[in-house]
Amino acid sequence: MITLQEYLTVAALLFAVGLLIVLYRNNAISILMGVELMLNAANLNFVAFSRHLGDMGGQIFALFVIVAAAAEAAVAIAIIVLLYQNLGSVDVEKAHNLNG
C-alpha cells in the first residue's frame, strides 16, 4: 500500500518545484504554471489526509481550491496580457518600474 508519508512527500516535492519555478523563472506564464503547481500540491495534501482520516472535508476543500485556482488563472492571464501590451515582453525582470 502507498502510505500517507509517501503522498505527503510527493506533495512536498511538487510544492518545492512549484516554488522554485515561481522564484527563478523569468517568464510570467511559467510563473503562473508554478503557482498552479503549488496549488495542486496543496490539493494533493488535502486529498491524502482526507483518505487517511476518512473525512470528506478534505476532498470538498480540494474542489474549492480547484475553483479558486481556475478563477485566479483567468485573472492572471488577463494581467499578463496587459503587461505584454504595456511592456512589450512577458519577462518579469523587465517590470521594475516600482523601484526605489
Binding site: V92, E93, A95, H96
Partner: protein, 612 residues
C-alpha cells in the same frame, strides 16, 4: 560724590543721541559738563586740603560703597573712595580734560564730526573719573576697560584713514593683552583673600610668594596701559588720533592710570621685594629705550609720544625704587607739561598742516610766539631745569633711586635724563632755526598764531608747569604726611649738569644749517632706535608666523575634522539609505525570495524552539 562723573555721562548721551548735527550746542553741553566737574573738583580739593593742613597725619580715606553683586562666595561693591591721592588725580584729570576740551574747539574747527569728538571726550572723562574714584580693584578694572574703549574710539576718530583704524586696533588689543594679566591678578586676589577693596590692602597679610605673584600680574596691566617695554609700541602709533586726544589720553590721563594703580595698590606691591625690583627694571629699561627712540624722530608728535613712554618709565621706576610719592608727584607735573607740549605741537600742526618738525620750522613755526614760547617752557620742564616743575619731580625720583644704593641704576637713570634734555631741545632748536629768506612764511606767517581757544589752554598749562614745582613740599605732606626736605644738591647737581650737556649737544647739532639733520641723528647706530628696535617687526613676525599659524591649524582642524565628522555622519546615513533602497528593486521575484527566506528562518526557529 558718587555721581561725579554723571555730568560727563549725560553730556555723552545727549550728544550721541540728539546733538550730532547741532555742533555748537554739543560743544556747549560738553564744556559745561567739564566745567561743572572741574569746579566740583576744585571745591573738593580746597576743602580736603584745608582739612589736611590742620592735621599732622594724612587724612583717612572716605569711602562709600553699595553692595552691587552679591554671590555666595563674595560680594562686589560699587562706590567711591576719596583720599588725598584721589583728589590729586582728580585735579589732574579734570583740569586737563577741561583745557583739552577748550582747545579742541579751535583745533577741530571745520571737522564734520566735531560733535562726536566732544561726545567721546566726555565719555572718556567720565570713565577716567570713575577709575580714579574706584574703591576696589574690580571697579577699577571695569573703568580701566572703559578708558581703553574710549582710547580706541578716539584714536580711530578719523576711521576712514586706514592707519588710524589700525592704530586704534593695535592700542586696544595690546592693552587688552596686558589687562589679561591684571584680571588674573584680580582673580587671584579675590580667590585667596576674597576682598579687593583698596582700604583693606594694608591689612591683608599676604605672604611674599603670593604677593609677588599678584603684584607681577597686576603689573602686567600696568605694562600694557602705561605703555612700558615691551608693550609700549601702541603709543607712538596712537598719534594717528587728533592731537587733543594725544594730549589728554596719551600724556596726562589714561596712560597714567597704570601708575595710579601702582600707588593705589601699593601695599600689595610693597609686600614683595622681587616685584619692586622687577618694576624698577621695567621702568628703567622703558625710560632709557624710549628716550633713545625720541632722539631720532622727525614727527613732532612721535617725539613727545616716546617722551611720554620714557617719563612713564620714570614714574614706574620711581615706584619700584620705593617712593610712591615721587612717582605720583612726577605724574602730577608731567601731566601738565606733557599736555602743554602736545597741545603746542597741535597748534604747530594746525598751522603748518604737517607733523614733520622740519616742515613746521619752514612754515614759520618760530613766529608763533605764544605757541613756541609755551613749548619752550614745557621743554625746559621736561629736561628738568630749576625752578620749573619738572626739576622738582625729577629730583624726587633721583633721590629715591639713589636711596636704593645701586650705582648702576642711578647712572642709568641719570643718563636717561641727559637724553631727555637732548631730545626735547632738539625739537626746540629745530623749530627755532633761522629760516632762509625765500621760505614761504619766513618769520611769522600771515596766519599769525593760533586762535585764543587754542593758545589760552597753552598759557594756563605753562603757568601750571612753572608754578606746580613749588608745591612739592606741601604735596608730600598732603599725600603722605612726609615733611619737606631741602634740595638734595648731591642728586640735583649732576642731573642739572647732565641736562645742561643735553641742551648744549642739541644746540650744537641743530643751531646752524636749515636742512641738515643733527650730528647724532646721522650716526648709523641710530638706525636701531629709528627702527624702534625692531620690536614692531618682531611682533608682526610673531603674529604672522605663530598666531596666524595656530589659526590656520585650528581652521584646518575645524574644516576637516569637526566639519568632517558631522558631514561624515550624514554621508554615512545617506550611504546606508542608498544600500537599503537597492533592496526595493521593483522586481517581484526578489521580494518573493526575501519572503521565502524569512519564512524558512522563522519556521526553523519555531521548530527548534518547540523541540527544545
Amino acid at each position: 560724590m558718587n555721581g561725579i562723573f554723571f555730568p560727563y555721562l549725560i553730556a555723552f548721551a545727549l550728544i550721541i543721541l540728539f546733538l550730532k548735527s547741532r555742533e555748537k550746542l554739543a560743544l556747549a553741553v560738553s564744556l559745561l559738563a567739564s566745567g561743572v566737574v572741574l569746579v566740583s573738583t576744585a571745591i573738593l580739593f580746597f576743602r580736603h586740603h584745608g582739612l589736611a593742613v590742620q592735621s599732622d597725619m594724612p587724612l583717612p580715606p572716605v569711602t562709600y560703597t553699595v553692595d552691587w553683586l552679591i554671590t555666595r562666595s563674595a560680594t562686589f561693591q560699587f562706590g567711591y573712595l576719596v583720599d588725598s591721592l584721589t583728589v590729586l588725580m582728580l585735579i589732574v584729570v579734570e583740569a586737563v580734560s577741561f583745557l583739552v576740551q577748550l582747545y579742541s574747539i579751535g583745533y577741530m574747527k571745520g571737522d564734520p564730526s566735531r560733535a562726536r569728538f566732544f561726545a567721546y571726550l566726555s565719555l572718556f572723562s567720565a570713565a577716567m573719573t570713575g577709575l580714579v574714584i574706584s574703591p576696589n580693584l574690580l571697579q577699577t578694572y571695569i573703568f580701566w576697560e572703559l578708558v581703553g574703549l574710549c582710547s580706541y574710539l578716539l584714536i580711530g576718530f578719523w576711521w576712514h584713514k586706514p592707519e588710524a583704524a589700525a592704530a586704534a586696533k593695535k592700542a586696544f588689543v595690546m592693552t587688552r593683552f596686558g589687562d589679561l594679566g591684571m584680571f588674573l591678578g584680580l582673580l587671584m586676589l579675590l580667590y585667596y583673600k576674597g576682598n579687593a577693596a583698596f582700604v583693606d590692602f594694608a591689612s591683608l597679610g599676604l605672604e611674599a610668594g603670593l604677593a609677588t605673584c599678584i603684584s607681577l600680574l597686576l603689573f602686567c596691566g600696568v605694562i600694557g596701559k602705561s605703555s612700558q617695554f615691551p608693550l609700549h609700541v601702541w603709543l607712538p602709533d596712537a598719534m594717528e588720533g587728533p592731537t587733543p586726544v594725544s594730549a589728554l589720553i596719551h600724556a596726562a590721563t589714561m596712560v597714567v592710570a597704570g601708575v595710579y594703580l601702582l600707588s593705589r595698590a601699593a601695599p600689595i606691591f610693597m609686600a614683595s621685594q622681587t616685584a619692586m625690583s622687577v618694576i624698577f627694571i621695567f621702568g628703567a629699561v622703558t625710560a632709557f629705550l624710549a628716550a633713545t627712540m625720541a632722539c631720532v624722530q622727525r614727527d613732532i608728535k612721535k617725539v613727545w609720544a616716546y617722551s611720554t613712554i620714557s617719563q612713564l618709565g620714570y614714574m614706574v621706576l620711581a615706584f619700584g625704587a620705593g617712593s610712591s610719592q615721587a612717582s605720583m608727584f612726577h605724574l602730577f607735573t608731567h601731566a601738565f607739561y606733557k599736555a602743554l607740549l602736545f597741545l603746542s605741537a597741535g597748534s604747530f600742526i594746525h598751522h603748518a598742516h604737517s607733523n614733520d618738525i622740519i616742515d613746521i620750522a619752514k612754515k614759520g613755526g618760530r613766529g608763533m610766539i605764544i605757541t613756541y614760547g609755551t613749548m619752550i617752557v614745557g621743554a625746559i620742564a621736561l629736561a628738568g631745569i630749576y625752578p620749573f616743575s619738572g626739576f622738582w619731580s625729577k629730583d624726587a625720583i633721583l633721590v629715591a633711586v639713589k636711596a636704593m644704593g645701586n650705582p648702576v641704576g642711578f647712572g642709568f637713570v641719570a643718563f636717561t635724563g641727559f637724553l631727555t634734555a637732548y631730545y626735547s631741545f632738539r625739537v626746540v632748536f629745530l623749530i627755532g632755526r633761522n629760516q632762509s629768506p625765500h621760505a614761504p612764511g619766513g618769520h611769522g606767517d600771515h596766519h599769525g598764531d593760533s586762535p585764543l581757544t587754542m593758545t589760552g589752554p597753552l598759557m594756563v598749562l605753562a603757568a601750571a608747569t612753572i608754578g606746580v614745582g613749588f608745591w612739592e613740599g606741601a604735596f608730600g605732606h598732603y599725600l603722605a604726611g612726609a615733611a619737606h626736605g631741602p634740595i638734595h644738591w648731591d642728586v640735583a647737581g649732576p642731573s642739572l649738569i647732565l641736562a645742561g650737556l643735553g641742551i648744549v649737544l642739541a644746540g650744537a647739532s641743530f643751531g646752524w644749517n636749515l636742512n641738515e639733520e643733527g650730528v647724532v641723528d646721522r650716526l648709523p647706530v641710530m638706525d636701531i632706535p629709528r627702527k624702534k628696535y625692531y620690536l614692531d617687526d618682531f611682533y608682526l613676525w610673531v603674529t604672522h608666523r605663530i598666531v596666524l599659524g595656530c589659526s590656520f591649524l585650528c581652521a584646518y582642524i575645524d574644516r576637516h575634522f569637526v566639519d568632517g565628522s558631522v558631514n561624515g555622519v550624514s554621508d554615512t546615513v545617506r550611504w546606508m539609505g542608498n544600500q537599503w533602497s537597492r533592496l526595493q528593486s521593483g522586481q517581484i521575484q526578489l521580494y518573493l525570495n526575501a519572503l521565502v527566506l524569512m519564512f524558512s528562518v522563522m519556521g526553523l526557529g519555531i521548530y527548534f524552539a518547540v523541540k527544545f
